[in-house]
Symmetry: C2
Subunit: 329 residues, 2 copies
């Protein structure tokens, strides 16, 4: 099987703790051939973690080296647009960490660049690869809760001093809309959209509760999906607690967890596979032309971000997603 | 101790199953002296239940008989305004079942009538007499969860064919705003307002899910209290499930149930006293001039109803409660 020669760009927490472990399990289809990072020691560290890779002084040199087929961008969000643009200009495929961009406006630029290019632009949203969410959708589609009516998701991240993400420079002074609300929130929106489809509108209230966390760190919202399902989604990044993701139908209900679903009180086990591994596998197949880019579609990632941007703008007012995703502007 | 001579007006489910059992426990302060009901057999039945009381052919005769100091109105909601008006005109005190009226407009009339009168007009909202809600407020005020940030209340009433309220004529073709949404919802709003204070705004989505239940039977909402606490409140009248009322603070959380509070995982028992009994006791003290009419205040009941009326009108749009409670119109 042909391997994709990958260049890791940005050797921060995501690359080291999420991507490289997944890529190591996928050594039959990926070869990490090159790394680069603003801080050279981080690049050297990553090169060692992957068991040896060429360290480039700059992104441009890496792109032009001819040694990579694709780049894996794990960067401060505000760099996604210029870095994706350069990769595409150099004919190099891209897998890029979510959120797609700092806001919908620049995210649209990425969608346009991707649409106008022959290389793959894949936005890595690992929640679209989490088996429990697909299982929930399967059970709903099979009528196990009657007609789906309502969902409620409470996420309590509870970040404190000990959490490494809190101290990332670009997270402390976020340029991405809503700070942690979009950084974490696009994951949850992706999962809800996977299960319930596109969001029609959202109304939300947001807060900056914790001085430790840069930018906003709490939101609660009411949203309606185009399917008619109603939901409330609440995320507290400084508040500790047990997450609770419930789906209620006319004739049953379920609680969705990572490794199981409680369907009408009955436990259904779900294999909590490494979603990052599934994500890179999917990227591989898309690059190889074996699959359409559905799960890494920039437009899907843009729709996730738009829901959070709408929430940040809402202050209780109804924001129709169509107004943000309009392409005439 | 002087007894209040009470006339029960309307001998339906509320009178028979909620009020009369409470009044029997309060025979030292209430004497049910008279009853009347549109259906005479119901009045006779009620008279028997209380161990004998004069059955009047009409409300007017009962009011003018000189045999009652106060009336207990447990009527189809649309009759509250004319029946309260007549009682006040006859100098008879009133305790009247919630919701205060069919809508805010007519509810305001009741508030005006009450304010312009020397007799007591007391709206019976038993949730304002539930010990668990007062205990929750006490724990929050004592700082047990840090600063209160968020509340989420899911109510799953799950009414089916076997539920007597489903078959009440005025509930099958509701003239009161939102049908079950206000009939049940004012209770929950009363409890939330007791704990968190007045509601600043609400955004909501409503549904008519069940053909068995007259009018609307599902709502989900996002609301912000004037204190800054954010909440989601969801009620499904046709959907079965276990209720869940959670309050989250910056430094802790609680689950509020009828007979206990789970505070940061620790169980605190609460005596689930008969809230109808506490309500009638409070009414007695107000009539006797021993207490201000705080818990039975028509204005408070109006504010409860206004939140539900706003929810019904919302369709995701933010409705500021001030706009409904404006008195200039």
């Amino acid at each position: 099987m042909r391997k994709i020669r990958l260049g890791i760009v940005g050797c921060g927490i995501a690359a080291k703790t999420l991507h490289i472990p997944a890529l190591k399990e996928l050594s039959d289809i990926f070869e990490v051939a090159a790394v680069t990072s603003r801080t050279k020691e981080h690049a050297v560290e990553c090169a060692e973690l992957v068991g040896g890779a060429e360290v480039f002084e700059s992104y441009e040199e890496l792109l032009r080296s001819g040694e990579v087929d694709a780049v894996d961008l794990a960067l401060p969000v505000e760099l996604n647009l210029p870095f994706i643009k350069k990769a595409v200009e150099n004919g190099v495929h891209v897998i890029c960490e979510k959120p797609i961009s700092t806001d919908v406006k620049t995210g649209k630029e990425i969608v346009k660049i991707a649409n106008g290019s022959d290389v793959v632009v894949y936005i890595a949203e690992n929640f679209r690869h989490v088996p429990a969410f697909w299982k929930a959708k399967e059970l709903i589609d099979a009528g196990k809760i009657g007609e789906p009516v309502f969902t409620s998701w409470h996420v309590w991240v509870g970040m404190d001093e000990g959490n490494p993400y809190v101290h990332t420079g670009w997270r402390k002074s976020p340029k991405h809309v809503g700070g942690f609300l979009s950084d974490g929130g696009v994951h949850h929106v992706a999962a809800m959209r996977l299960i319930f489809g596109d969001v029609a509108w959202i109304s939300a209230a947001v807060r900056d509760l914790s001085p430790l966390l840069g930018g906003l760190d709490f939101m609660s919202s009411l949203l309606e999906f185009e399917s008619g399902v109603v939901g409330t989604y609440t995320a507290g990044y400084s508040i500790k607690g047990k997450d609770r993701f419930e789906i209620v139908g006319t004739d049953g209900r379920m609680l969705v967890e990572w490794d199981r679903i409680l369907l009408n009180g009955e436990e259904i086990g779900v294999n909590p596979e490494n979603s990052y591994k599934l994500e890179f596998e999917d990227f591989y197949r898309v690059v190889m032309g074996e699959r359409e880019n559905v799960l890494g579609s920039p437009l899907e990632a843009l729709k996730d971000l738009a829901v959070i941007e709408a929430a940040v703008k809402s202050n209780g007012h109804r924001i129709d997603l169509k107004s943000l995703l309009d392409w005439s502007g």
